[in-house]
């Protein structure tokens, strides 16, 4: 769909969702944010709109059906990247766009990148940052935010005491699958003039797999008592390198010295929610399973077909790790 010039005359109440699909953001986040924006717009009786950094991103999201439920999609610049170098730049452009279109509410996912932009924007606009909402309702023409406070020992319900625009971040974990039917979304370029900003972003990089924290990893290989020797453990590390995964272990693996204490997964270690969790020789005690409760896909390799992990895993490979891991490494190296 082609971008068109913005028509200033037709301004009506809108609710915006900031959508971004840069590195470090979960791929399903934009479509979930679009769904949440659609829900709130229905409650507020206004238009649901998305806002993205550039037209290229807008067109890509539209093609991938990530904007279901949105009536319009605004891009801040036309050119790819558009010279936007950091959150400070983006906040300046968004501020201009907000002043022009005057949306009631702008929603951001509570991811580290979006939170940075939202906080900068709230400070520039002198508005509260209604932060990390676990639920948003619409009462008396204003959003009412419920958020977790004091380490989730209580919920605080707040509303803004300023006029719109309001800015809110939504906890990523509460965003649900967007089930709204696909509809026509119009791309509009809000050409904004960027001001120079003082912060100088020099670059963005991802830590190598070996340095990745378990909670940050998309794929986690976890070792247990089924690891027979140091040679097999080395192969697991090699496999982690090839898959860009982090290596953790069960409590038994920590006791055996296979992984350090800070890489223990389970009730008494780390609670993780990776996209893919691979259990290598782990029987799956209740306490270990608690730590991987939120893992999306679990694959288990174990010689014991009756281990508790079998009940948790989506795919169970009944075989010895000593046989499988070298074969997988060979296949991956061959593909390189």
């Amino acid at each position: 769909m082609l971008a068109r010039e913005h028509d200033v005359s037709a301004v009506e109440a809108e609710i915006w969702a900031f959508l971004h699909d840069e590195d470090g953001v979960a791929p399903e986040l934009p479509q979930r944010m679009a769904g949440e924006c659609h829900r709130l717009a229905r409650l507020a009786g206004s238009r649901a709109c998305g806002v993205v950094s550039c037209s290229e991103t807008a067109e890509r999201m539209l093609a991938q059906q990530e904007t279901k439920g949105l009536e319009a999609l605004y891009s801040l610049v036309e050119t790819p990247g558009g010279g936007i170098t950091n959150g400070a730049d983006l906040a300046v452009r968004l501020e201009e766009a907000i002043k022009e279109r005057q949306p009631l509410l702008v929603l951001f996912p509570a991811s580290s990148i979006a939170n940075d932009i939202a906080a900068r924007l709230a400070a520039r606009l002198d508005r509260p940052l209604l932060g990390t909402a676990v639920d948003i309702e619409w009462e008396h023409d204003a959003p009412v935010i419920r958020r977790e406070v004091y380490g989730n020992r209580a919920h605080q319900i707040v509303k803004p005491s300023t006029p719109p625009p309001w800015l809110a971040t939504v906890a990523v974990g509460v965003l649900e699958e967007n089930t709204v039917a696909a509809s026509d979304t119009e791309i509009t370029c809000l050409a904004t003039a960027a001001e120079p900003v003082q912060e100088m972003l020099e670059g963005r990089r991802r830590l190598p797999a070996s340095e990745l924290d378990l909670v940050d990893a998309d794929i986690v290989l976890s070792v247990g008592r089924g690891i027979s020797s140091n040679a097999v453990l080395e192969q697991v590390h090699r496999l982690a390198e090839l898959l860009d995964a982090a290596v953790g272990g069960s409590r038994e693996a920590v006791f055996s010295g296979l992984v350090p204490r800070e890489r223990q997964i389970g009730a008494s270690g780390k609670w993780i929610a990776p996209r893919i969790y691979v259990a290598l020789g782990i029987s799956g005690s209740t306490y270990h399973l608690m730590g991987i409760r939120d893992a999306k896909h679990v694959l288990s390799i174990n010689t014991d077909a009756t281990a508790p992990m079998v009940g948790r895993a989506k795919t169970n490979i009944v075989a010895s790790i000593d046989d499988i891991v070298p074969q997988v490494i060979a296949a991956l190296e061959k593909d390189k």
């Binding site: 590195d23 470090g24 580290s112 939170n115 940075d116 906080a119 900068r120 709230a122 400070a123 002198d126 509260p128 940052l129 932060g131 990390t132 676990v134 977790e148 406070v149 004091y150 020992r153 209580a154 919920h155 605080q156 319900i157 707040v158 803004p160 005491s161 971040t169 509460v174 649900e176 699958e177 003082q198 912060e199 100088m200 972003l201 020099e202 670059g203 963005r204 990089r205 991802r206 830590l207 940050d216 996209r275 893919i276 691979v278 409760r293 893992a295 679990v298 694959l299 390799i301 079998v310 009940g311 895993a313 989506k314 795919t315 169970n316 490979i317 009944v318 499988i324 074969q327 296949a331």
Partner: protein, 282 residues
Amino acid sequence: MKIVVCLKPAVVASEFACEATTGAPIRPERVQISEVDEAALQTALDLKKSHNGSQITVLCIADRAAESLLRHTLHAGADHAIKLDVQHGDNIPFDTSAAAKIAAAAIREIKPDLVICGARSPDHGSGFFPYALAAAMDYPVVAGAVSLTLEQNRLTTVRKLAQGWRENYRLDLPAVLAVEADIVQPTHVAVMGRSYREAVGRTVETWPLDKLGMETCPDSLEQEIELSMPRPRRKTAARSKGGSSRNRLKRMKGGSDKSETLEGPPEQLAVEFLQRIRQWQQ
């Protein structure tokens, strides 16, 4: 070099209690320095060690027991500790934006080169304070710093993002830096240690609002309607149809009803393994 550290007295969340009749949560009275604020103070102390002649001033906005926390920072090695005395009369925590405006007024008096604070407090955790402060001061800001180096009035820092991503920033001073708890390892303040003994004669200063050129507290930008016990978000998804007790138990543990078991020669299983990983990665 002048460094200002902003502290927020964090309530001891483990002491949260409920009212017996209504079940409404009661905010604990006791406050402490949070892990992330300890890291901010330690970062300043480390900079003081590496930059001779540096002065650290700790600011704290509080209308209740902040004095002991500020005294602790003097014992740890801070040169000045200032309590910004703001009486707003009730037990509701101070609005972040208002707090930032008051802190900014005090910081203008001090004219520091660098302002350090925690990236987010453990109680509310919106992470808005450093940005609101930077906007009020018109300083550049980087939040979520996990490392920093300071050379010739220029700060180089690494910002922590999700999923192992990092951003490298370079900014000119004066600036606001909000640090993560893992930027440094806090050192233990030994009773009668050197810094403790040096702080014995020092007092915590109290600055009222009129000293900052403010007549009243800045307006709060948000209003607390209620503090309640946690409740899950209303579910809009269709309810599960039930199934056998075994399957329900499996779902409660996070498992799915459909699982597959693969057996066969290792070469074939390795191929199947990679197929599943690639499929799930998409």
